[in-house]
């Protein structure tokens, strides 16, 4: 019982964080306009992608993937896939952050839309490490509770 409550709380927290992050990168509520251009610039600041156009495509796609994955965490037939997607995104973002920190880049992470504050790497890495752990718990839980009937 306690385990179920903990998993439910983890699901709510992870879904809440990713839904908020996705929506804030889709729409800039402060200025009433698309947030995609600012997210594109935030991605370009990481200087990881080989082609600038990839940043544009990712800026269109990633926020929706975050939001859809967050909602899909509550859909029984999609929960495992959503948890896997969230785990993958968080792991990739952790690597990108660590790489930027290693190269001494002073950038905004763009995690929750427009962000004027420079990235505090230790705090961000800790936060995303905790998110990754929570997402892995959800993946493990979904695998564990998988019933053969689900696949049928």
């Amino acid at each position: 019982m306690v385990g179920k409550i903990i998993v439910l709380l983890l699901r709510l927290v992870v879904a809440g964080v990713f839904l908020y992050a996705g929506v804030m990168k889709i729409w800039d509520f402060k200025h009433g306009q698309s947030a995609t251009p600012d997210f594109t610039v935030a991605i370009q600041h990481f200087e990881i992608l080989p082609y600038p156009d990839l940043a544009v495509m990712l800026a269109f796609y990633l926020p929706w993937l975050e939001a859809i994955s967050a909602l899909a965490l509550f859909v029984r037939r999609l929960a495992l896939g959503a948890a896997t997607a969230i785990t993958g995104m968080t792991a990739i973002f952790l690597i990108a952050l660590a790489s930027a920190w290693h190269r001494g880049l002073d950038i905004s992470c763009g995690c929750f839309g427009k962000d004027e504050v420079s990235t505090n790497y230790p705090t961000l890495l800790l936060r995303d490490g905790l998110l990754l752990a929570a997402a892995l718990v959800l993946v493990w839980r979904e695998c564990k509770t998988a019933a053969p009937a689900r696949d049928a």
């Binding site: 889709i26 800039d28 200025h31 306009q33 698309s34 995609t36 251009p37 600012d38 997210f39 594109t40 610039v41 370009q44 600041h45 200087e47 600038p52 156009d53 940043a55 544009v56 800026a59 269109f60 796609y61 926020p63 929706w64 993937l65 939001a67 859809i68 994955s69 899909a72 037939r77 999609l78 929960a79 495992l80 896939g81 959503a82 896997t84 997607a85 001494g104 880049l105 002073d106 950038i107 427009k114 004027e116 420079s118 993946v139 695998c143 998988a146 689900r150 696949d151």
Partner: protein, 138 residues
């Protein structure tokens, strides 16, 4: 494993639909379409607030004639003499936006590329889409 991959594929595909729709809408109707090659639009810069270091990559004669208020001159012809004033004005926390005439001019990209190569610490570096023409409304 198979189930995870199948569900993951569905989630990835579900996200692709609104992404493509919103992308198509923005590309077709919204002037704030994201730009590639490190370019930013005037509207994006306005949203950053007033903290921008403008760099004029045009010739000195054009700069002397008219330039964006507060802009400093930095072009490839006078690079050696102009780079010091630029570095003095540069603040790591303030985005740098380079511009040239606009249209098909390449000077802003050339200056931005050289800054990236020679001064990798200048990370918040952009090129103004449309250049001086976009600023002056010509």
């Amino acid at each position: 494993m198979k189930r995870a991959l199948r569900q993951l594929a569905i989630v990835l595909a579900l996200a692709l639909v609104p992404a493509l729709v919103s992308g198509a809408i923005q590309v077709q109707w919204n002037s704030e379409t994201p730009t590639s090659h490190g370019e930013v639009t005037l509207a994006m810069i306005h949203n950053w607030g007033d903290k921008v270091l403008w760099v004029d990559a045009r010739t000195r004669s054009k700069y002397d004639h008219a330039h964006i208020p507060g802009a400093i001159l930095l072009n490839e012809d006078e690079w050696d003499s102009l780079i010091s004033p630029f570095l003095d004005a540069w603040d790591p926390d303030v985005p740098v936006v380079v511009y040239c005439d606009g249209g098909s001019c390449d000077a802003s990209h050339a200056v931005a590329d050289r800054l990236r190569k020679e001064y990798p610490q200048v990370t918040k570096l952009h090129v103004l889409k449309g250049g001086w023409s976009a600023w002056s409304g010509k």
